[in-house]
């Protein structure tokens, strides 16, 4: 016989200011099986917990309904409270009258109270059939997986590996390093990007606890927190990396030398079909690009392939095949980085009309001493020296037609690039910075902005409507400067557009594999925008860096260390308590059709060979509910969320 207590929280004025709590208490106390109902200003506080505990003892309650905020907020709090009072933690039901009621109906107080009554009544109807469940312990795998080896993935891997845990670091490019390896200098300190990155890359390569899987991609993830089974595809490099010593002679003799667009240089330089992305690559091993290698495309490369001829170590292997590797890890850190918005999407800025209109990332490659022009910025159309350059900020960010958000790095990257240009080319160079608002919010950023505001560069407070290419190929645009109220005509040798960072073009695919969520902007969604910035909706999977949203390097590194600590919190444990709210198969109803085995995304279902009926693997089952929807014989049951319970709740309100 259920003896139910209903506890109604005011949440200050969040609920109390809208819902008539006194009325709700009175209504609740009159419901079937309810022996006690009470309210309190903050039920989640210590005194609030005491109200519940005392009532359980005094009135011999055995099922508890807490009527407050979302269970995502305080379900664990109240579970602990009733456990302290000697009840099973699963004998709790919550009715959400804040997010689902008072917040969304704050101007309709009477209606809100009515809805709150319905929600309480439904919760009570369910509560009197709640079963006591027991959690069980499951073993934890102590290794971790990090996906993406830019600065975020590198930092997370090093932090994890330094605690003594084994880390698998998967990177889809032939080298680790990511976007940061493409940058010349970093703002605001003007540290050389490679100089601070490459030592970390070497640390990764040397670390005994890190197993580096480059030129590889995660294709499948099974299992759940503490015990993920991961499939990784190692793409063939067509070079035996055991043998290759990175001498580079193959690249020199390749028949496709200087014919293949160089992705690392943002397409501004050319490379061979056999290549390392950049000279400080880790690992420094050559890879054959199968889409460009004549041998791989047509089976023929002159009389004999020169790379094979020149390689004394015999490392070239055209027969190499893709390999699947299976990993078993306890937690996963996702750090897959970002892409840039295609600058040609802003048609009015003419990116595809002239090679002299470039993006800020292309500019990084041009001004980098390791770049295609050895750090000398000149016009790409005719190779002429530049006398004037313009930066157009917010090109596609803060823009409802492209990306609504602020890209967070555009202003600072343009200021840094202006500084570097001035440094390289002297006082005579004309620099125009077309800005809407300079957002220099980070530590030392405003100070850096002040250094650039030295009177030598022109800050134009406005935005060009269009950029035109004149008949002689020179660039011209009009811009209204809102600070001087003048329309200016500006001729510029090159124009640098600053487009926003966007999610990786295939990030949806990865979010599907990992069962994590994407936000409206397409970036991976954190569990809570402030308090859980590295958590995802899937336990045991954490996010770091620009895959979660645009960020500068300090923020990326901080979040990566945070994600590593979070991952550590799981893999450092011996056992995890598993959630007992999972599926169960009624053996009397199951006909052994096997539909549930097919639909289960966690491989948590098997047909028993002897009895022929389905059985649940309680460790693997996450309670997703897929089998319950699929089972044609109503044999699959979700514990404490049964069809009968749901129907009772529906009955209550209709």
């Amino acid at each position: 016989m259920a003896r139910i207590g209903v506890f109604i929280c005011h949440c200050g004025t969040n609920i109390g200011g809208v819902v008539d709590v006194d009325d709700l208490v009175k209504f609740s106390s009159e419901l079937d099986d309810v022996v006690y109902a009470a309210d309190y200003k903050y039920m989640c506080s210590d005194p609030g917990g005491k109200v519940i505990k005392d009532a359980i003892e005094e009135h011999d309650l055995n099922r508890i309904v807490v009527t407050s905020c979302s269970p995502r907020m305080h379900e664990p709090t109240f579970q602990s409270v009733i456990e302290d009072a000697g009840l099973n933690r699963f004998c709790l039901e919550m009715a959400n009258i804040r997010e689902h009621c008072s917040w969304v109906h704050k101007d309709e107080k009477e209606e809100a109270t009515k809805k709150a009554k319905d929600l309480v009544a439904m919760a009570v109807r369910k509560a009197n059939t709640l079963e006591a469940l027991t959690s069980f312990q499951k073993d934890v795998v102590h290794d971790a997986l990090v996906i993406g080896a830019g600065i975020a993935g590198i930092q997370a891997s090093l932090d994890l590996a330094n605690t003594g845990k084994k880390v698998y670091l998967v990177e889809r490019e032939p080298s680790i390093g990511g976007r940061m390896a493409q940058l010349d200098k970093t703002f605001p300190t003007l540290d050389c990007s490679s100089c601070i990155l490459t030592p970390k890359m070497m640390d990764v390569a040397r670390h005994p606890n890190i197993e580096l899987l480059t030129y590889s991609e995660v294709t499948e993830v099974d299992g759940s927190v503490g015990d993920f089974k991961v499939k990784v595809k190692r793409k063939p490099t067509y070079v035996d990396w055991e043998k290759c010593n990175g001498c580079g002679e193959c690249g020199q003799v390749c028949r496709m030398k200087d014919k293949v667009l160089d992705k690392f240089n943002e397409g501004l330089g050319k490379r061979s079909a056999i290549y390392v992305p950049f000279q400080q690559a880790v690992p420094l091993k050559y890879t054959i690009d199968p889409s460009k290698c004549l041998m791989l495309l047509s089976g023929k490369c002159g009389d004999s392939p020169p790379c094979q001829d020149v390689c004394e170590l015999g490392a070239i292997d055209y027969q190499q095949e893709e390999k699947m590797i299976e990993l078993n890890v306890g937690s996963i850190v996702v750090a897959t980085g970002y892409d840039m918005l295609e600058a040609s999407d802003m048609y009015e800025y003419g990116y595809s009309q002239s090679p002299d209109i470039i993006t800020n990332l292309e500019f990084e490659r041009l001004i980098s001493s390791s770049g295609p022009t050895s750090g000398h910025v000149h016009r790409l159309s005719d190779g002429e020296e530049i006398k004037s350059v313009s930066f157009v900020l917010c090109a596609g960010s803060r823009d409802m037609d492209h990306k609504e958000y602020c890209c967070r790095i555009g202003c600072m990257s343009a200021l840094k690039q202006a500084y570097l240009l001035r440094d390289h080319m002297g006082e005579d160079l004309e620099i125009n910075i077309c800005y809407t608002d300079i957002r220099s919010f980070g530590k030392g950023y405003e100070e850096f902005y002040r250094r650039i505001r030295d009177g030598k560069s022109n800050f134009i407070r406005g935005r060009p409507s269009e950029i035109n290419v004149k008949e002689d190929g020179k660039l011209i645009y009009n811009i209204f400067d809102t600070s001087t109220q003048k329309l200016l005509e500006i001729n510029s040798d090159i124009i640098v557009l600053v487009p926003p960072l966007i999610p990786r073009n295939d990030s949806s695919e990865l979010s599907r594999i990992l069962r994590i969520t994407e936000g409206a902007d397409g970036f991976f969604l954190e569990s809570h925008p402030k308090l859980k910035p590295s958590d995802t909706t899937t336990d045991g999977v954490f996010i770091a860096g620009c895959c979660q949203g645009p960020k500068d390097i300090p923020d990326v590194v901080a979040q990566a260390s945070g994600a590593a600590a979070k991952a550590m919190g799981i893999i450092s444990r011996e056992e995890l308590e598993s959630d007992p709210m999972i599926a169960w198969v009624d053996p009397d109803m199951c006909v052994g059709c096997g539909v549930c085995v097919e639909v289960c995304p966690y491989s948590a279902r098997e047909l028993n060979e002897v009895t022929g009926i389905a059985e649940v693997d309680e460790i693997l089952c996450t309670g997703c509910g897929g089998c319950i929807a699929a089972c044609p014989s109503n044999a699959c049951i979700h514990k404490n969320m049964t069809k009968q319970q749901i129907l009772r709740m529906i009955d209550e309100v209709i």
Binding site: E348, N478, F480, T482
Partner: protein, 176 residues
């Protein structure tokens, strides 16, 4: 209102501002409030070069309620309706729509209409053209007409009264 423009002693006009918003709401969802004054509209404004129409300023004035200044300005009548500001606004706003709303309020409240603009309206109502075909100067510096260049005569509307009816109907329906 506790705000005063010390250069003209004008105060924001809440009523007129609301009226503009209502008119624009009929045309599109967004009203000038989202404008963050990047100035992209004015950078590309075809009318600014000749007449100093500043669409971003129209947005700011209507946003802050200094409507009288707008109604009395000659510039609002010089918009050539090229729609560039609407097409390129990063906040999906349409200064051109705000300008039209202001023009409508000016007419309905009996403000002086710029003579160039009323001449143009008269021309359209009378002939169907913004202006009548004129002579142009060719590469040899001779003044030539369409006839001289062998171009066909431009046909006007076939039924002028019908066109006038349609135009008047449109005008009275737009003026609210």
């Amino acid at each position: 209102m506790s705000i005063i423009d010390l250069t003209s002693m004008a105060e924001p006009e809440g009523e007129a501002q609301k009226k503009i918003n209502d008119i624009i709401k009929g045309l599109q969802e967004d009203i000038p409030h989202d404008c963050y004054q990047c100035g992209k509209c004015t950078s590309g404004c075809e009318a600014f070069i000749l007449t100093e129409l500043e669409p971003h300023k129209v947005m700011a004035l209507s946003k802050s309620g200094f409507i009288d200044e707008l109604l009395n300005s000659g510039e609002i009548w010089t918009c050539v309706t090229c729609l560039k500001c609407k097409e390129r606004c990063p906040q999906d706003l349409a200064p051109v729509d705000v300008i039209f709303a202001v023009k409508n309020i000016a007419v309905s409240s009996g403000k002086q209409i710029d003579s160039g603009y009323s001449n143009m309206l008269q021309a359209v109502l009378g002939t169907g053209f913004i202006q009548s075909p004129k002579e142009v100067v060719d590469r040899e510096n001779n003044a030539v007409t369409r006839d001289d260049m062998g171009l066909p005569k431009i046909k006007g509307p076939e039924e002028m009264p019908k066109l006038q009816q349609v135009l008047m109907k449109a005008a009275t329906e737009t003026l609210r």
